[in-house]
Symmetry: D2
Subunit: 305 residues, 4 copies
């Protein structure tokens, strides 16, 4: 039987950047500090294709994914990005004609969270991981990985808060009393989704739980599964004492990274995106930025100076 994939292309002799499978759902066990958890992960994996080959051997991708999942049961990798790194590296073994491979995955992820110790329950976050392996002319393979997370929190608008204070002070002159100067004032608040990704050179590691902590600290307030009546007020008041535009969320998150991740080298890439699903609009407000740990350190140092 002819291997059609290995024959010459019929539709043009172009090399292609990526050919692979996407949307492959698998249960992946990973080893967290003190426990093993199973992620319901969705994978996309691909390799490049040289100009003189008609097709990529896609069944090898499915076999490899199955092997990695099987192995994770007995020897769980430390993280989703570790699994992607292993897959990307191994893709280049299984596709000898390829010089670049890519494995990416996302999964829901649960952490204990609560506004107080006796309110804690497992709340949902989302993990993202990606690994790109490249093989140079000498056959040496290097693997870069990206790791990130998304957390849902709350933002309260600082601008509407001031205009509400101004409008209400006309009607309620007592609001001008100095004792009420910092009274939390009504504004619109909303569900905010913020995502932070690190692009890591070989050897660098980041703990996703720390990424999630960094995101939640940059929003007006975290959100919670369990809020009894008094708790609601505490969360609302805390958010209104910490009003944030999407711009503020992004800047606060990014400028916190040098302090939170001191051991990450300057070459680490950083991508951040935040969306506020506005309560007063039918559309969303969003901000994004791409930078590096080195740039963030320089920028922080210049402000400190």
């Amino acid at each position: 039987v002819t291997d059609i994939h290995a024959t010459a292309p019929t539709d043009g002799h172009l090399p292609l950047h990526q050919v692979g499978v996407s949307g492959v759902k698998k249960p992946l066990s990973i080893h967290r500090p003190e426990r093993v958890v199973t992620l319901g992960a969705t994978f996309s994996v691909a390799v490049d294709l040289p100009a003189d080959r008609k097709g990529s051997d896609l069944s090898r991708n499915a076999v490899l994914l199955a092997e990695v999942i099987d192995a994770s049961i007995h020897e769980p990798p430390s993280s989703l990005e570790a699994a992607c790194g292993r897959i990307a590296r191994e893709l280049l073994v299984r596709h000898p004609y390829a010089s670049r491979s890519r494995a990416e995955a996302w999964a829901d992820y649960f952490l204990l969270r609560g506004i107080a110790p006796d309110r804690r329950s497992l709340e949902d976050f989302r993990l993202f991981a990606e690994a790109v392996a490249t093989r140079d002319a000498a056959g040496r393979v290097t693997v870069g990985r990206s790791v990130g997370a998304e957390a849902v929190g709350m933002t309260a608008c600082p601008c509407a808060m001031e205009t509400c204070r101004d409008q209400l002070a006309v009607e309620y002159p007592l609001l001008n009393d100095p004792s009420l100067r910092d009274l939390p004032m009504v504004t619109h608040n909303q569900r905010n989704r913020t995502r932070l990704m690190f692009e890591l050179p070989e050897g660098a590691e980041v703990e996703v739980d720390d990424i999630i902590d960094a995101i939640e600290a940059a929003q007006s307030s975290p959100t919670y599964h369990i809020l009894k009546r008094g708790d609601e007020a505490r969360a609302v008041i805390a958010a209104h004492r910490n009003p944030k535009f999407v711009e503020d969320v992004l800047r606060g998150l990014l400028t916190s990274l040098p302090g939170r991740f001191p051991s990450l080298p300057d070459s680490v890439g950083v991508r951040a995106h935040t969306t506020s699903e506005e309560s007063i609009h039918k559309y969303d407000v969003a901000a994004e930025h791409v930078t590096s740990m080195g740039e963030l350190r320089v920028s922080g140092a210049s402000r400190a100076a």
Copy 2:
């Protein structure tokens, strides 16, 4: 050539309730007061299938949809549900073996909205329509239609507002001053989606713009595309003076219907659903109710008594 659809079933002699096509996108022109608008509508149409026939002639559904769309260019129907009604009725002509047909559609829909006359712009709502045609033993066809809409608005939580007031009054005793008794107080507010559907007997008509008005009136505040700085404060303050649980939104909407739609007969069915995409939770809060205009009138009369 054998018509395979018309042969005897091969996998069991069961009648089937619905066989058809779904997710068919078409541009439908409809005639609104003073203008013609084009909806990007998504249709699903189906008929029942008798036990002795293998398949439904699905190409007839696609031909019929194309004909209705073509005709709408020259003679636009008055509404999405009028188009569905025509399709449902005609499905029984094209499928002589069927005794029940169903046509449903949804479409984004735009209305001029604004917090002030000079702030108006086209904002997005969503329309839903459905028609069910039934043919009795004597061959007589009756068509029932449903029509509805969804509007995105804002809700402010009345409970957190009270607990915030209590907690803040401890810290700011001046809040106990009688002049501040009705000062709008911080709470969580969020994007709310509310849908209302009417099930209409033959002859009854409802204007979707009136449905959208009814929904927006039941939320804490409408949302707006354009809000300049002072406008934001007006919308926020209005919402906080009108705090609503999802329960309140649903009840306010339903109890307003007898007054808003006095000519609808008691037999008209009513379905309402509302979701608040909570700003302090990672999940949504939702409420729904199914009733009739008759029940709503009795309930309103008993309260008035």
Copy 3:
């Protein structure tokens, strides 16, 4: 502090059918034969609300869900529907003013599948569960549960197969040779999603793995994660020897149920839905039917007679 939820309604004295939380993601451990698996489940839970109460105590829903998830770690329930049943029953304890509760959930679910023993890997299916608890005037609570699953498979169209055979026989007269009479012929084939739900009275149980087996047996062929070259041909030829309209899939599935689930009582409700994401159309083809085990048995017996 006033409990606002317990006060009188402000927007109308209507009872409401359902008030609750939706889209709550939690990791649920369940006990399968020979192993414990963790499902990434999404829950919606709700209770009814009497006319004289403003709001439902929604924080109780979140607390209850957290407790059930916690308990599942140490004592995993036997199934997603068992967890829903427990939640629905407990909702009526936590909401003493309610007389009806509902808990529903879905989750991705993985089973070992393969076209041959050495091709097996974990493939993805989807589970659905629902439980409704009702409390009668005497305070007695009954719980009905629904359980179901969705499987992705392949369908090959029997009609296009015949018309292709006819058209090709004109060009290739040798196709009329008796030895080629049952040669599998080209047609369009596509991804098919079929869902089967059982509504169970108290005491009745169904194993979801058996539901998935029933669905896969009714499609032209299952689909597989791992197919090496020869395997692909086997799957394709098998599907083309077993061509199915959506009507055939649904009838084949439904008529197989009395044989596959002989111990289920006649009162068990059955809902089935199938969608073929057509390869030759931009839209889908779908069929659905609602019946009961009793009706399916009568219908099968009458055919057998």
Copy 4:
């Protein structure tokens, strides 16, 4: 009243790449050859933000979008990308502190399609457009635009076709007869989505209808809304005589571009992505490539040499 947006940042003095609104739905009229059509478009627009400013004036984005929509009623732009270009340019006027703006949009789009002249109906495609405006130090603004489309078609797998032929020839020796050498053979076929985007320098124009034609020509066959019985066979046989991997679809599409768009300059960027929603797998197969008209011309010339 203080303009909070114009104050100094509170969470760090970082410049941000993009701040804006997303998911804004609007009905946009555009002028097509011989007719005006209304697109239900979804816009996202953003500008960069300098390090010394707290917030972006987002209400200006909403006002601008409303103005462009209003103007389109009386003077419809020629295309979605023309509208985006105008928005991007004007964003820099409304945000004097910004040096880079971005406007992107997508919309369903309908064209008359049919397997024969009397089978034509409006079928759905999708348009994508993007414009990026940059202001240099001298205040000169340049606008780059991207324009693209996605079309759903059908692919038939060339590999499974050969292995099916081999396996069936064992069982049906007559298949080895020379007269049956090119008999279309069973394989798996599926829904394919292919997207092509051009990045255009100022002045260059592409007609989206030509993009859609190019995509459909590269798939095994277009798909159709209306296919009567004989038509289905014609489409199926055509697809099986033109089997395509995703690799083939992508290469065929890309290598056709120099011939189809001879007037586009070499500097035009080209991005192509294709996904086959496999009928024999639960997951998708995908390929993508990024190149330029210049590269495609060189590559084509070297092959022709």
